[in-house]
Amino acid sequence: MSIIIKNLSKRFGDFCAVDRVTMEVPHGALVALLGPSGSGKSTILRLIAGLEQPDEGEVFLTGEEATGLPARKRGVGFVFQHYALFKHMTVSENIAFGLEVRKVPKAEIKKRVQAMLDLIQLDSFSHHYPSQLSGGQRQRVALARALCPEPRVLLLDEPFGSLDAKVRYELRSWLRRLHDTVHVTSLFVTHDQDEAMSIADRVVLIHKGRLEQEGTPRELLEEPATPFVRDFLGMPPLDEPHW
C-alpha cells in the first residue's frame, strides 16, 4: 500500500471538514477522490501532502509514518488547480527546481529535465515563461515539475479544474497514458464523476467529510452503498417509480 490514512480528522473552527476518514491507495494505482464541492476531498489531499496538519489520525506513505513530517520531507509530488508555476522562472527552471533543492549535480539535472520535457511533449517550450503558455501547457509543466524529483506519491488537486471542457477531456486521457508510462501511485481530487469513473482504477467517494464508498468504478455503479452514491453517480433513486 502506497498511501494509508487512518481515522483522519480536520476541523476549521466549528466546521468539520474531514471526519474520521480511513482509506488505502494501492501501490501504482491511479485513484480518484470524488465528491461535491466542499466535501473535504481537497483537505484530505492536503493532509496527505503535509500542507495541513490533522487534528486526529495518521498518515502513512509507502509504509513509513508521515504524520509528523512537514511537506518538504514527505517526498510527495503535488499539482495545484491553478498550476502555481513560478512565474519568474522558465519552463526548464520550474521543472528543475525540485532537483536543485536536493543539490543534484547540474549534468544530472539537465538530463532529467530533458527527459521530462520529452515526456510532456513540450521540448520546444523549455525557455518559455509560464505567461507565454496556454492553460493546458501550464498544467503539463506543473505535472512535470512535480514528477521530476521522482516522488513516491503523486497528488493532484482538481488538476483540470481551471481548463475549458475540450482541453480537460484531452488532458484527462493524457494523464491516464502518462500514469501507465510512469507508474507512480497517484491520487487525484475531482468533482467531475465522469472524469473519475473514466480514468481511475479505483474511486473514493467523499461526502461531508466522510467516506461514502470506495471501490472500482464498476463496483460503485453496480453496488452503490448509499442513496448519496446513487444520486451523485446519476442513478435513479431506488424507491421512485420509473414511470
Partner: protein, 282 residues
C-alpha cells in the same frame, strides 16, 4: 464555503517552523515597538511631566496661539487647493493622453523626492524681493516671502502629490463604462462627474486628503526657509516647537509637540478608515 477560504498556515505552525514563525513575529514586533510606539510614549511622558500647567501656559501664550492658527490656515489651504487641483490632475493623468504626460507625472514626484529645505530655498529664490516673480510682488507692495502667502505656497508645494497619487489608481480601476453609460443616458460632463465618478472615488480622495493634511500639518524645512522664522509673525507650530527647543524651553516644546502628535494620530486613524472603506467598495 470554508474549504475554499481557509488560510493554510497549517504546515508552518508545526514543529521547528513554529518557533521560527514565533521568533520572526516577535522580532518584528519588537523592532516595531522600539521604532514607533516607545518614542511616542516617551514624548507623552515628557510633556505631561509638569502636569497641566505647561499646557495652560501654551494656551495663554500669544506666540503659541498665533502659531497654531497659522498651521491650521496653511493646512486648510493645502487641503482645499491641492484637493481641487489634485482631482483635476488625477483626471488628466487617468483618463487622457497628451504630449508631455510622462513629464507631468514625473514632476508630481518632485515634492516627494526633494529635501524640504531645497524646496523652500527654490521658492525663496523665485519669490524673494530679487526673484523672477518676487520683484513684481515687491513692486506692488505685496509681501510673499517672510509672510503668510509664502508659508502657504511652501506648504502647497510639499503636500502637492498626495491627492493625485491616491486618486489616479482609483479612477483607473473605476473605468470608463459607468461614465459612458451616464452619457448615453443624457448626462453632461459635470453631471457625470458629480453623480457617477465622484461617488466612486470618494474614499480614495479621502485618503489622499488626510495624507495631505498630515503632511501640511508637519511641514518644517520649507516653511522655515520661506517664512524667515519671525517669532509671533511667521512661525507655524512646527517652527514654534523648534524655537522653544532652541531656547531651552523644553516643556513648551514637548507640550506643543504632543498636541501635533495627537492631531497626526487622529489623521492617521482617519487615513486607515478611509483605506478600509476604499477597499470595501472596490
Amino acid at each position: 464555503m470554508p474549504e475554499a477560504s481557509v488560510p493554510s498556515y497549517g504546515a508552518w505552525h508545526f514543529g521547528p517552523d513554529r518557533w521560527r514563525h514565533r521568533t520572526v513575529t516577535a522580532a518584528t514586533l519588537a523592532w516595531f515597538a522600539v521604532l514607533t510606539l516607545v518614542p511616542v510614549g516617551a514624548l507623552a511622558k515628557a510633556a505631561l511631566m509638569g502636569g497641566w500647567a505647561p499646557f495652560r501656559a501654551l494656551a495663554a501664550s500669544p506666540d503659541a496661539r498665533h502659531a497654531f492658527i497659522l498651521t491650521i490656515l496653511a493646512t486648510a489651504a493645502s487641503v482645499l487647493l491641492n484637493g481641487v487641483f489634485g482631482l483635476v490632475l488625477a483626471v488628466l493623468l487617468a483618463r487622457y493622453e497628451f504630449p508631455g504626460k510622462a513629464i507631468l507625472d514625473a514632476l508630481l514626484d518632485m515634492p516627494f523626492a526633494i529635501s524640504p529645505v531645497v524646496a523652500g530655498f527654490m521658492l525663496l529664490l523665485l519669490l524673494g524681493p530679487k526673484g523672477l516673480l518676487g520683484h513684481f510682488f515687491e513692486a506692488a507692495g505685496v509681501h510673499v516671502v517672510f509672510a503668510i502667502p509664502g508659508i502657504i505656497l511652501a506648504t502647497l508645494f510639499v503636500s502637492l502629490p498626495f491627492v493625485v497619487r491616491e486618486v489616479v489608481p482609483v479612477l483607473k480601476e473605476v473605468g470608463l463604462e459607468q461614465e459612458e453609460a451616464a452619457q448615453t443616458l443624457g448626462a453632461g460632463p459635470w453631471t457625470t462627474f458629480r453623480r457617477v465618478t465622484f461617488p466612486a472615488i470618494r474614499w480614495g480622495l479621502a485618503y489622499g486628503v488626510s495624507l495631505t493634511a498630515a503632511r501640511a500639518l508637519g511641514e518644517f524645512g520649507a516653511v522655515l526657509v520661506v517664512s524667515g522664522n519671525i517669532i509671533g509673525r511667521t512661525q507655524t507650530t512646527t517652527l514654534f516647537i523648534n524655537q522653544e527647543f532652541a531656547d531651552f524651553h523644553f516643556e513648551g516644546a514637548y507640550c506643543a509637540a504632543l498636541v501635533l502628535a495627537l492631531a497626526s494620530m487622529l489623521l492617521l486613524l482617519g487615513m486607515e478608515a478611509a483605506k478600509r472603506f476604499a477597499k470595501g467598495t472596490s
